[in-house]
């Protein structure tokens, strides 16, 4: 037998062997922010059920929404909820069956700054943050900042704003918050994963923003809470809807979601920034899994619903170890009911 023929037979038997092992492969794609959490969950779940294999590509929220809409993946994931238009688009492509949002974990954004001579943890009011990012508050000793920070000597230097240059869920949370606290921001800039920034420099990724803030005196930027915690950065406190200056932490982020539970719609498409409660950190958000409500393949359907149930009970305690804020109990209960919508 020739060498070529041997190789062909080898390849064919291997391919058949893989297929006959009856692995159920479930493909997903989307947000990069929860990627470490999801890969941990999928890994643990695979250990428990070796025939189930979840494959998750962190290609970004936009890509996740697009791929789940086109049906090239079994589920998607996003840091910002789908818009009404995107939902309609999905239904049109899937015979009227909608897509469901399932919150998985939570994250927050924190303001980071670099002011030579100031080492104190600064307090930021919503008005100050909106003013700075609109370019209306241009100096560090502006009364709006000084009033919230008694005892701190702030210099009269120009503020340099640093924002994300790449489209990102982190940006979505930040500008969504600014929209809620400032009418002017909402009408002039609006919300999205990328916006038309009135002022500032763009840095790529959390590391780009924090790097530029570190290098540029008198600058302020925003990064993910996880990133700030893992890099031991100091960040400012933000005044919440109840009027208390709160430092971002996993507990205060969870508290923010708990404050929003009462008004949570049944489809979980909700922004929880600036929600009531004196312990809540106002710049927080869910991240969602996007699951089609109609799954043709019975085996896949069972695998996905079982995973969701497992994630809500056994998966949640794994979140804090990876610096994600777990869901409040009330949201978990509400989601457990919503799983029944998958048919």
């Amino acid at each position: 037998m020739s060498r070529v023929a041997k190789w062909v037979i080898l390849a064919v038997t291997m391919a058949l062997g893989v297929a006959s092992a009856q692995q159920i492969l479930i493909n997903g794609a989307g947000a990069t922010f929860p990627y470490p959490m999801y890969s941990k969950w999928f890994d643990e779940y695979h250990k428990k059920f070796p025939t189930l294999q979840f494959n998750y590509q962190s290609i970004g929220s936009g890509g996740g929404i697009q791929q789940v809409t086109q049906g090239t993946v079994d589920f998607g994931a996003t840091d910002g909820p789908m818009t009404d238009m995107q939902l309609k688009d999905f239904e049109a492509k899937h015979g009227g069956a909608p897509v469901l949002h399932f919150p998985t974990v939570m994250g927050g954004d924190v303001p980071v700054y670099n002011i030579p001579g100031v080492s104190a943890q600064l307090n930021f009011t919503p008005e100050a943050l909106a003013g700075i990012f609109l370019g209306k508050i241009a100096k560090w000793n502006d009364p709006a900042i000084v009033m919230a920070n008694p005892g701190v000597k702030l210099p009269g230097n120009d503020i340099v704003v640093v924002h994300r240059s790449d489209g990102s869920g982190t940006t979505y949370i930040w500008v969504d918050y600014l929209c809620k606290v400032s009418k002017e921001w909402e009408t002039k800039v609006g919300r999205g994963t990328s916006v038309n920034w009135p002022v500032g420099l763009g840095g790529k990724g959390n590391e780009g923003v924090s790097g530029q803030v570190k290098q540029q005196p008198n600058s302020i930027g925003y990064v993910e809470l996880i990133f700030a915690r893992q890099n031991k950065m100091t960040f400012g406190k933000v005044k919440n809807a109840a009027g208390v200056f709160v430092e971002a932490s996993l507990a205060s982020v969870t508290a923010d979601a708990a404050g929003a539970v009462k008004e949570m719609p049944d489809d979980f498409r909700v922004s929880i920034t600036n929600s009531p409660g004196k312990d809540s950190y106002p710049i927080s958000s869910f991240t969602w899994l996007l699951v089609p409500s109609k799954i043709q393949d019975a085996a896949k359907k069972k695998a996905i619903t079982d995973f969701l149930k497992w994630m809500l009970v056994e998966g949640q305690p794994m979140a804090t170890a990876l610096d994600y804020a777990p869901l409040p109990k009330a949201v978990v209960a509400k989601e457990q009911k919503a799983i029944a919508k998958i048919q």
């Binding site: 290609i59 970004g60 929220s61 936009g62 890509g63 929404i65 697009q66 818009t83 238009m85 995107q86 120009d158 340099v160 240059s165 790449d166 489209g167 990102s168 869920g169 800039v189 609006g190 919300r191 999205g192 994963t193 990328s194 916006v195 038309n196 920034w197 500032g200 420099l201 763009g202 840095g203 790529k204 780009g208 790097g211 530029q212 290098q215 540029q216």
Partner: protein, 319 residues
């Protein structure tokens, strides 16, 4: 050229198609033809894909896409001008720095340096060309920008009266991007120019020296003009690289889509904005506007390269 070729064909008896196949001629022709055709096919496919996937913004904005300055994904208003501006300015700046540096180094390495030094340096320079661009970006952030921060006050006091060097300097800027790009493209100019200068026949040098020219006069008047075509080619290659460079540029340019006269102001380039925003772009209009930017970059590269080629052809005819 016509005479020797007829001579060749007449020397051999006429061959049938199958004879030529067996002799290998036809096979070689087919393979090389396919290779050349593939390039053409891929390029065509690229343009076609960029074209059909950017229909929405082309319809909505038309030619105003090229002249408006707003880039607002929320309001779905897209204009490419700030990105075109940033791409052109950084590439021009890079060439202004890299051309004299690159050609100077190439002349030294090819004509004046002892062979061992020339070869050692050439090896290092070729290594530089293989360094990934993200490394150049890091180099820009951690070494170049701190250096520029030191130089900047002097530049400003000397040239601050021109709008080009006015305004505050945040480190990241069009200027930094241009300098980083120049470092990235200079190896291309040096290594290709060195090769073409070395390939100039020694007769050329010997003739000039025999006429009493000094060493430098020989190089400048007899060697460089002979090698000018190859040197120009190296500059084109460098320009193409700088127009399309993404990672290193986005790390040091400041990513702010506004047009300001000052080189110290932050800017944005076409390749950088596509890389930054494409993954999270939701909605067809947004994605397609980014794809149209890709089309613009493609067209820009063709126009600039074409214009440069015409310019070169024109000067050569005048000589």
């Amino acid at each position: 050229m016509a005479a020797p070729s007829t001579h060749l064909t007449s020397a051999r008896p006429a061959q049938s198609f199958w004879q030529r196949v067996r002799a290998g001629d036809e096979v070689a022709f087919g393979i090389t033809f396919l290779a050349a055709f593939t390039i053409l096919f891929v390029t065509g496919l690229l343009v076609w894909q960029l074209w059909i996937n950017s229909g929405l913004p082309r319809q909505k904005f038309g030619w105003s896409f090229f002249v408006t300055q707003t880039w607002d994904p929320v309001a779905e208003q897209y204009g490419a001008l700030p990105f075109i501006y940033g791409t052109l300015v950084t590439s021009a700046l890079a060439l202004i720095i890299a051309i004299p540096l690159g050609i100077g180094a190439a002349i030294f390495l090819a004509e004046f340096a002892p062979p061992w030094l020339s070869d050692a340096l050439a090896f290092l320079i070729e290594l530089l060309a293989a360094v990934p661009s993200v490394i150049y970006g890091l180099l820009g952030i951690f070494i170049l920008i701190p250096i520029l921060r030191v130089i900047e006050p002097y530049l400003k006091s000397a040239l601050g009266w021109t709008p080009l060097f006015s305004g505050p300097f945040y480190g990241v800027s069009l200027f930094s991007a241009g300098v980083v790009l120049s470092v990235m493209i200079v190896p291309f100019i040096i290594s290709i120019s060195r090769e073409v200068i070395r390939a100039v026949p020694s007769d050329q040098r010997e003739a000039a020296l025999a006429l009493g020219a000094t060493r430098w006069e020989t190089v400048w008047d007899a060697v460089i003009p002979y090698a000018s075509k190859g040197i120009t080619g190296s500059i084109f290659l460098a320009l193409a690289r700088s127009l399309g460079e993404t990672m290193a540029v986005t790390m040091v340019i400041g990513n702010d889509p506004k047009i300001k006269a000052s080189l110290f102001a932050p800017g944005y380039s076409i390749a950088a904005v596509i890389a930054n925003e494409f993954t999270e772009a939701t909605g067809r209009m947004y994605t397609e506007a980014l794809i149209e930017l890709g089309l613009v970059l493609f067209a820009l590269t063709i126009v600039i390269n074409g214009a440069a080629r015409l310019l070169v052809a024109g000067t050569e005819r005048n000589r």
